[in-house]
Symmetry: C3
Subunit: 504 residues, 3 copies
């Protein structure tokens, strides 16, 4: 009987607590969009209902900067000390972003009596989020356009990939052709970012009659290294997808899959089949991906990409495990994406400045020796690895973490050795005149043996290292892993012998 | 204090509204299955509990056709004007579908005193859903069996894929053999559909004792182009999976993955890594996939396959953005699945009627020129593209959509050019007698150079175009994309030279 | 009016029922962790908050063995008849597992006054779950380490995959090197399991000051075939992921993807695109993956890996459809993972004992003939197939199931035939001295033709069979399926001719 009473008492108390909570929380004073934004919404909610609905479900549509600034340090989502007065007390809507900094935007155009720009840039976002912009500027990704396009050797790869070669069927040969702009934009630059150029306005018919609308080259593109009309670099919406711009989307591994799943960087695929990814797939829908700061174990049961590489993490008592960073290599000692060898992270986000001793724009020599003066020091490497290991330690013992990195280090070493063996074959072919490489003024990517060599490190060695780093075993074994490193090496040797016998 | 009062008042009003809602909705009069269906359930709920439970959670098990017919035009899920009286007032259960149209089903058999057919066909579904059946009959998918099996060239491909060749090890050659029926059914026809043939009944032992049960050839198969015993084509349960037959399942991209993920049509894989797919994976579990009509932004934040290609979409005020269609190319101007080149959509769902000028059953010449008399006009192309772009516009600006299609058009052009270059090499080999092609009475798929040529367009050019159309960049770059187009072209040229030197 | 009354009456009854339920369920007496576990948690909840939180959300942290033992037979999750007294009445926490059986663990070390071992083994789990351990000991997976490492031929494959070959560029040849231990552990053994060896303790600095901590070789590793320091085999946490050890995780197909998704065993990938996988992806988040026993239709709408291969399934009235098993081939008649041919399941979990007539450690001859004395009988095959078909029957008709297996049997046959044709080419090359095989004392995996032969069965024939068995069509057609079987066979024939012409 005492049991029944205590249960019904519990139920009564719960009900009371709930009513009290409602009572104390007070009437909700809805944060309102500015008048300017309401004017935009007037047309756009029927013209582009998807954009508007998406924004309406965003935090931007619910919270004013003034309120966002009141949060405790660790819980803040805006990093500005203060926000300009006219932006402070309305929610963050169309007008706030698309009319901000009008003087800086060469693509500002007159639109129904307002000065508007279509392409919102990190400079605009930085009004409220300056630290994130600053961190991102130290991220290689922010330089992804130039790091690719301003590198002569990578340019040869672009030509090989995006050009439309011509065949001379009589001779049985393939002749390279330079790629056109749209092909580059639909291919490499879809992830590296395009150069978005404003070309003025043009009258076009719309559902609401004729309108002067902007014309851009290089648009659409939402890639991390996009060069914006205002000269800034990057696009926050690559990860914080428009028009919700949420932290939870950026923390979802799916978001990273847009660019990190190919044979060159199979990070997402490796993650999916790793234990971390298995756990995410199995139970991620129950996790709290919104919480700031983010607490391993409490908010999530296994890391997503963001947990290890970007997010502010705290322990259950609020102790910081890892600081927030938008510089993705802030916790990475080595760049396992080998070009052609894995090497210490570059010092500068702009890697187009790198030149190895042989005069090639590569972070290592063809022998594997790192171009150290452009790369971070051992001490800095150690610091970064410790930052990452602090994240591991939230869920793993000291011997677990140490054992994991021991294996990774060995795999970096052996995959580099295999790349070295393949490179010896390639260098031999170049030296013997059986192929035309950089030393002969040729492209590194226009002869069959060269294509095998490129796959050896770009596809196979990279897969092996990503599989090791993130524990997605099979990408390091059969699925583009060690099996293919070996098979390809043998094919290279065979092709070298064939080239020789044909040349005799 | 005023604040506290208003909050508690709000809580009280909410409670009142809830009670009122319950009050007004009236007692729920449960829709009942027919007596015939209850008779079926008597045994089958213990024999095949999975089927029964699945059906029980379906709309068919909850709603009578009479009630379904009462809905407003845009909200209706049945397209019939009326439904035969005996079907009207019970839910749609076992007996309703499996005893319908007994005269039309040659596979009707006596089963515990009833006349039953196991294979329910689009003709049966059309009793309530005639528009869907009619739309689907204009869908190439409904002809997927004949479009493949009645095409002589594709037949050569089937032989190459499904036959069990014999090796003459002494000569070191491989000799083609015709495939058997079961191999075809387990391979190509798993997606294209089998020819299901009734072979009578046979006594078999079951958990409830011996039973006369039907015997079919070509069964099981649930593919879109299945030829049914009643002569009808297709299977609604390909997408509206048995025995729930739900719209939400058909709107899930996973459903399409069953057939659209291979190297020839990597639509699902491209979608997965596209921004649209990222958003679906990240937040799709919160969307309303049931709503009819379906409203972008409100019901879902990014399109699934169905949004762009099939579903009835309306804006927030109920304005129609796109009409429902079960003809999947109703919003598609071009067929980017190249055979061997991308080309305007065929006029007829039955593509086996197509013959190009060279007399080959292909929608283009080997030069790339479209077999225009069998393909839709430019005007029709424009109309279909506009229908698709209306969907884009729900979430994208005019310049966004225009820029996207500009890139896609270029990629269609360049991928066709690359296919043309590869075809030149192939035609040269055929002309020089180094391989035996259609002109020489040979198969297009039984020599190593031909296999490379087939991969050039079937795998690589198609991947590049799907990646462009649906923005899954890497499938257009390294993952079976441009990289492989180029590498393969060079391998073809090399093999041509080898064939020549071996023939000298 | 009667209608309104009945509705409000219904609402009132619901409320009453809810209150009554609360009332009757009584006060919850929280199950408590032992004092020893509380001592562990004192430090570890701040040192490794992720582990602790994960455990806290586990059933182990909520239920005492005493309570678990009270459940009805079919609902029990512990299989022990009884549990030692000191473990019975507290929840299952750190101390319960990590201090269990101290005498059996050579890696027991002194840790803050306790005797602790880091590596918990199936012997520990068997205190409460002895049947599962016993079943698992009959699972080939439990022998995965030895089955790979103690097989001479597979050892040649390991060398080819994990060694770092040296290139002699002058000769244009590749020279094999034996792999090191860490490379094996990061590659094959990541799934097969490592040999975990205790190497004593070492003082290391931790957040709580210097500590004597254990040092292991072969750690970390959570693979099914792990050799533990106590001599036992396996790791329950491979599937019941630490530190939640849940049944629902083990029932998620993602869990199996860790090891079953590569080109050799693409089970997970095939599942994903099968109708079963489509349904799981589309609606799995609504299923009950926790329920014991597990009821098709009620608890889940389509099978996951566990449904078909492991779980205890019952019908809606509690009738057993399939008994629980941790011997994964208990419902499998054939091993479609061909080595090199599909064959009846081995009799013993330890396959390293198998020797075919030719003296090779393979379950078939190179001709395809099974090494029958090591394999299960036809009768046993039939029994196992019937067990699996009982699962199919929960959702499929007799003719459906029969038709499915008819196709699978044919595909097993034809894929074996294709392997036979490829093997003829390989044997011819060995016989003619164009490659050095087992008969010549050579490796089976160090020459280009051999690598093609290995891919023929390890990648392509296996993919075709998995695609057939689990209905993921395209893995049997273009995506590593029949297309590649045929293309590869032609490449083998071509290479054989080249080898001959080079040798003339």
């Amino acid at each position: 009987m005492a049991r029944m009473v205590s249960a019904s008492l519990g139920a009564a108390i719960s009900l009371l607590a709930f009513v009290l909570l409602l009572f104390l929380s007070g009437p909700v004073v809805a944060a309102e969009p500015s008048q300017a934004t309401q004017y935009c919404l007037g047309c756009h909610k029927s013209l582009h209902p998807g954009i508007v609905s998406d924004w309406q479900s965003s935090r931007h549509a619910r919270v004013t900067p003034a309120k966002a600034l009141q949060k405790d340090e660790l819980k803040r989502r805006v990093s500005a000390e203060s926000v300009p007065g006219d932006l402070r007390n309305s929610t963050v809507g169309c007008a706030e972003c698309h009319t901000l900094n009008p003087g800086k935007h060469p693509d500002t155009f007159a639109h129904n009596g307002k000065k508007v720009h279509a392409v919102v840039t990190p400079e605009d976002c930085a009004v409220c989020h300056p630290q994130e912009r600053e961190q991102f500027s130290r991220n290689k990704m922010s330089q992804a356009y130039g790091n690719l396009m301003d590198n002569k050797l990578y340019g040869q790869l672009i030509t090989a990939v995006n050009g439309v070669p011509r065949v001379d069927a009589e001779k049985g040969v393939v002749e390279e052709q330079a790629p056109d702009r749209l092909s580059n934009e639909d291919s490499c630059l879809a992830c590296h970012g395009t150069r978005v150029e404003y070309e003025g306005t043009e009258e076009r018919s719309t559902k609401l009659g004729p309108q002067e609308l902007p014309v851009y080259a290089g648009w659409p593109n939402q890639a991390v290294g996009r060069i914006n009309p205002d000269g800034s670099k990057g696009s926050c919406s690559s990860c914080h997808t428009r028009h919700r711009y949420s932290i939870e989307m950026a923390r979802q591994p799916h978001t990273c899959s847009k660019c990190h799943k190919g044979p060159d960087v199979p990070a997402y695929k490796v993650y999916e089949v790793s234990k971390h990814g298995n756990i995410f797939s199995s139970s991620g829908s129950e996790w709290d991906l919104k919480s700031v700061p983010w607490t391993p174990g409490e908010d999530f049961a296994a890391p997503t990409c963001a947990s290890c590489h970007a997010s502010l993490l705290t322990g259950p008592q609020g102790k910081v495990i890892a600081e927030r960073t938008h510089q993705m290599n802030d916790r990475l000692s080595e760049r396992i994406f080998g070009l052609p060898y894995a090497h210490p992270q570059p010092q500068s986000a702009d890697t187009s400045v790198i030149e190895n001793k042989a005069g090639l724009p590569l972070p290592t020599e063809l022998s594997g020796e790192p171009a150290s003066e452009y790369l971070i020091s051992e001490k800095e490497q150690e610091k970064r690895r410790e930052r990452l290991q602090a994240v591991c330690s939230a869920c793993h013992s000291e011997q677990w973490t140490r054992g994991h990195f021991e294996k990774l280090d060995r795999t970096v070493e052996t995959s580099n050795q295999l790349t070295r063996e393949a490179t010896k074959l390639m260098e031999t072919a170049w030296a013997e005149g059986l192929a035309q490489g950089p030393g002969q003024g040729g492209s590194i990517a226009d002869e069959p043996l060269e294509l095998l060599w490129l796959e050896q490190w770009l596809f196979y060695a990279n897969s092996v290292r990503f599989a090791s780093a993130m524990m997605g075993a099979d990408y390091g074994v059969f699925e583009r892993g060690r099996w293919h490193q070996h098979k390809n090496l043998r094919e290279m040797a065979e092709k070298l012998r064939q080239l020789r016998s044909m040349n005799e």
